[in-house]
């Protein structure tokens, strides 16, 4: 039963990391970080059942805080991209500092 969850978590993790390597879209990269966080929480909870430690909530709170901060940064920067009519290419994001 544990093997299923570990394989699903590792699959999600590898899809997230490989997508960050191969994609250049700004929104997609932030959402792939969310996929990596989902995989991390799934692996943590699935391995927590077989451990002796009662501490799972601090780790999950850190994961949820990182997810929330990612989405907040995404929304703020996306507002700027629609405001200045610039591209969503990550390699062109340094244009913002040149104005």
């Amino acid at each position: 039963m544990l093997d299923y969850f570990v394989i699903i978590g590792l699959g999600l993790l590898s899809i997230g990391i490989a997508g960050i390597i191969g994609s250049r879209h700004f929104v997609v990269i932030i959402l792939l970080i969310e996929i990596i966080l989902v995989a991390a929480s799934l692996l943590a909870v699935s391995l927590y059942g077989y451990s002796n430690s009662p501490m799972i909530l601090p780790l999950l709170f850190v994961i949820w805080a990182i997810a929330a901060i990612d989405v907040i940064a995404l929304v703020v920067l996306y507002r700027y991209t629609t405001l200045f009519k610039t591209d969503l290419d990550v390699s062109k994001l340094s244009k913002y500092g040149e104005r």
Binding site: V6, L13, I35, V38, Y50, V71, V75, R79
Partner: protein, 161 residues
């Protein structure tokens, strides 16, 4: 039966995570990742952790993906999409192979799985009232209906503008 359900949920989660890379519309990408959050919470239920499943559902679906819908997907569309598919496929296979080899080479993980029965998260009185079966299923129904209303409202606003 439980193995079959977990297999279906895992395949759906992998498909929704790949469709984040496949879709072109940002609204569809946000819908796919919120489906992934709901599937993650259902996998927590299959792991016999109902308290963590409810907290995950409330924070991820209720907080993160609602903010994602309102902040990103309701503003506009972008047709720009750059994905380097050979690099993605090659690096995904390589990373999965390395991680799988590292997890299962030593044999400690299989020994761990066959050793003991898994523990559930320690439930107090509040979470016991959460974790009775009917209230959890009604919570998932409420989440699905709220997402239907939200996506319909966003599509209607885009049409009115």
């Amino acid at each position: 039966m439980v193995y079959f359900i977990v297999l279906i949920l895992g395949l759906l989660a992998l498909a929704s995570s790949i469709s984040v890379l496949l879709f072109r519309n940002i609204l569809h990408i946000a819908a796919a990742i919120s489906v992934l959050f709901v599937l993650n919470s259902l996998l927590f239920l299959a792991l016999n952790q109902p308290t963590l499943a409810v907290i995950q559902l409330l924070i991820m679906v209720g907080g993160v993906s609602t903010y994602l819908f309102v902040g990103v997907a309701a503003i506009g569309y972008s047709k720009f999409k750059y994905t380097n598919w050979p690099a993605i496929i090659i690096s995904a296979v390589a990373i999965f192979g390395i991680l799988f080899y590292g997890a299962y080479n030593s044999g400690s993980l299989t020994a761990l799985a066959s050793a003991a029965t898994p523990q559930a998260y320690a439930a107090n009185s509040i979470s016991q009232s959460f974790s009775s079966g009917s209230s959890i299923s009604s919570l998932y129904g409420v989440i699905v209906m709220l997402f239907g209303v939200g996506i319909g409202a966003i599509k209607l606003l885009n049409r009115l503008r």
